[in-house]
Symmetry: C2
Amino acid sequence: MTRVRDATDTETAAGGRGGVEFRTDPASYQHWKLSLDGDVAMLAMDVAEEGGLVPGYELKLNSYDLGVDIELYDAVQRLRFEHPEVRAVVLTSAKDKVFSAGANIRMLAAAAHEQKVNFCKFTNETRNGIEDATAHSSQAYLAALNGTASGGGYELALACEHIMLIDDRSSAVSLPELPLLGVLPGTGGLTRLVDKRHVRHDVADYVCTRPEGVTGKKAVSWRLVDETVPRAQWAQAVADRAEQLAARSNRPADGTGIRLTPLAKKRGDDEIRYSAVSARLDRDSGAAEITICGPDRDAPADVAALHVEGADFWTLRMTRELDDLILDLRTNEPELGTWLLATTGDASRVLGYDQFLLANSGDWLANEVTHYLKRTLKRLDVTSRSLIALIEPGSCFAGSLLELALAADRSYQLSGEVPGADSDAGPTVITVAGMNLGPLPMGNGLTRLQTRFFGDTDGLAAAAATAGQPLEAAEAAELGLVTFAPDDIDWADEVRIAVEERASFSPDALTGMEANFRFAGPETMETKIFGRLTAWQNWIFNRPNASGPAGALRRFGTGQRAEFDRKRV
Amino acid sequence: MTRVRDATDTETAAGGRGGVEFRTDPASYQHWKLSLDGDVAMLAMDVAEEGGLVPGYELKLNSYDLGVDIELYDAVQRLRFEHPEVRAVVLTSAKDKVFSAGANIRMLAAAAHEQKVNFCKFTNETRNGIEDATAHSSQAYLAALNGTASGGGYELALACEHIMLIDDRSSAVSLPELPLLGVLPGTGGLTRLVDKRHVRHDVADYVCTRPEGVTGKKAVSWRLVDETVPRAQWAQAVADRAEQLAARSNRPADGTGIRLTPLAKKRGDDEIRYSAVSARLDRDSGAAEITICGPDRDAPADVAALHVEGADFWTLRMTRELDDLILDLRTNEPELGTWLLATTGDASRVLGYDQFLLANSGDWLANEVTHYLKRTLKRLDVTSRSLIALIEPGSCFAGSLLELALAADRSYQLSGEVPGADSDAGPTVITVAGMNLGPLPMGNGLTRLQTRFFGDTDGLAAAAATAGQPLEAAEAAELGLVTFAPDDIDWADEVRIAVEERASFSPDALTGMEANFRFAGPETMETKIFGRLTAWQNWIFNRPNASGPAGALRRFGTGQRAEFDRKRV
């Protein structure tokens, strides 16, 4: 169930310490109806008005809060893993005459700033995930807007491959945030209008100032939707279009889904523990120490064995756990500003799993696992926490797990021998491998290695040329693959100072700096959404014109007009 | 003189209503020493401590405020127009052991939010202008850091082609904003480190957390500077390097500069008037009505005549006036949130001037004029005001002036005949021409037409194919070149409603929306600086952790530590 665990800990919609639970399953959905019919799935939004994540607002007109979106995220994930036979997904509403009114305004108005921002980030990731399913799993999403789609409701449609709008003279698409709430559409709407749907910027400007939105043929001619269909033909037209999209899919005909079994998770106040992932929460130092355990056995012998293992397959199990941990810490532990990333285990086994996935990338499940790892690493990239990788003896920063260190804002690799340590452990090494050279791109379209060596072709080539070779600290530092290589004498002090220093800095300035440094090079729609659009939205959310006592977001629905400081900034 | 006109109107450094004057000239500089020696110019920073734009702070250690930067902007402009013989510019300090301490912190801490943001925008534009001079006028800038360059001081160096740092064991480069002030380097530093100088992101992270900065060989190995030179060899090494840069220049050997004569400007409380540009300030509606007058005579017959005309040449005169007007309105009139852009005059003459510049683009002065127009239009693109173009009878939105309408958030072109109007005027037309097809790119590297039709190749081709043909409103709207084409009956109401509506919206949400819509398509270092970096900085400036009573920016220098809300957002 998508419920907060401890209501006393959680006062507002986006949750507080230890509050929001991201694990759910279709049997527990309160807000969505998932139905399957051959190669077409129907995901119908049917938000329970009284089913808000926390008390204080009613989710009328298919408006949503984080709880609704957690279920949507779960459904999108399960369709990829559990239903390989699905080739098109119809996203629609189970309510009459309304698709979705977007994010619930009373929830937003009451939420603390960091909760608003975290909520928008997760909804953005889910919408990017819908596009990723369309692009990489050949599960195309069709938005069947059987009623008005406003704000976040229309933004959800914008993440779909094709948008149909019912033509009944009243159903419209709209982005009314600016005129009604004094904020921006928060989940990629502006960027997708101009960069994805190629709506002219002046038309987009006009659309975003019309709270009533756009209906019918005008919505088509302005590229806001792809087609409109009269009510009488609606059901048939949606079915036809879904079949057409399904027919384009290269999804295998004979795939049998695996079950995403419930995640084993133990959460205490100072520890979160899964099977392959754990975190120690050090509230005094403001840090979470995250450890990823490598595989405890070798990779399967063949894809048949992979399909038998299913959710137990190490890479998938570890990725699911890491994904849940990231979401939990982000939402429930905003004061843990530094994440220390460690690994433990056998690097050669990690590389074995990587190699297995690369060698079997034609298998739909292997493909899903790799793309899921990609998305989870992207989640790390846009996480507003300082990421510090600690590479110590017994670690396994190789291939896919080396990505953790490459994603980090800085990394420390222990140099030389450790007196008294188990001599079997040998020196601390990292290993570049195939997973670092393409399959796991960042949101900017480059690999983390390409981003790291942006503009330094020789550096990139030198790093890539080491593929498969274990690199000790001095060599890794020389190659630019790690930031620092302290020896045993300096290690503890250097790491301690780094963590203490991080905790002493302005959390806001750190967030801004990290968001700027992590994405060198080209920008994409995705980086624009998380960089440009999110940064502006954060600023606007934080301004009295939106969130002050007389701000538009706070006054919405009160009958009182907002009062603005008219100075342009 | 770079002084505020009316001290009673202006309480803080970035100026208030009618306060800050951008016109200056070398004879009036208080803070810079410009010296010329053949093909090398020396621009030495020598900030007058007591010369702050407004009272309340001392500009110690070559720290700067808007007044210092206004002089720098003037110098960079004059070097391009008045000194074509200059092929390299040495940017250095006239003070001993310090290059520049960056933006003055007491000034920043006391400035209102919109003043901080506006100040950063102008300094960013000036630094982009330095890069533009290096790229397009072959006037390469050499940063000769004869002492420590901190914060904005180092960011100024980052805008230069080559950075030399004196090696005296104490002179460092640093970006101490995050650890000392809880804000970001505000003038492109983060972006230039990773995207221009290709500093690895983890190294950049580390550098930005070291308030003491980086000296000597380490600064070179981390790519923060290009070379270090011991004090004994300094003067000779700088001279040698300047000569090498000058030798690479393709600047003409025989150019004779023109004089940028003082701009004629009359400023009243509700009107600003130049020779070819004027603005009516309507404080009731919150709008500035800007009118650009086309040429009152034909373009010169040849380049010799252009050089005789000099600053009187219409395009240059108009551009200088528009540039000053943009800066004046931005800084001094933050409550005029909508700019209405009109033109009046003979479109064929505008096209004649355009054609003259295009035909003579090999002439250094013609080249300068076009690039200056390009930069001024870019200034418009990043202006946080709603831009509405009004295309009426007697207007001359053709070629270069059509760019104003293309830069606008929306445009209205009057359709059909106007009863009773002068029949000679004919219908209202716009004209696409050569200046719209390449020479005036936006910050994203695309022309405004390419940006407008981003992803719509056919639309772009159709618009470009009309080059030279006057387009009436219906046709222009059909082609997507204007937003609306109301007729005479609807015109006044539609325009009035648009202006009223704009004034009723949240100014912050408008700023965010416009910043997102104006830059479809690719991103560049420039758009990253104005979009991603600026948006984050604005957010951070606005947060209590920086600007609250216990924030880092406010507490700097008081001996008290900042108090942070540690929640990550």
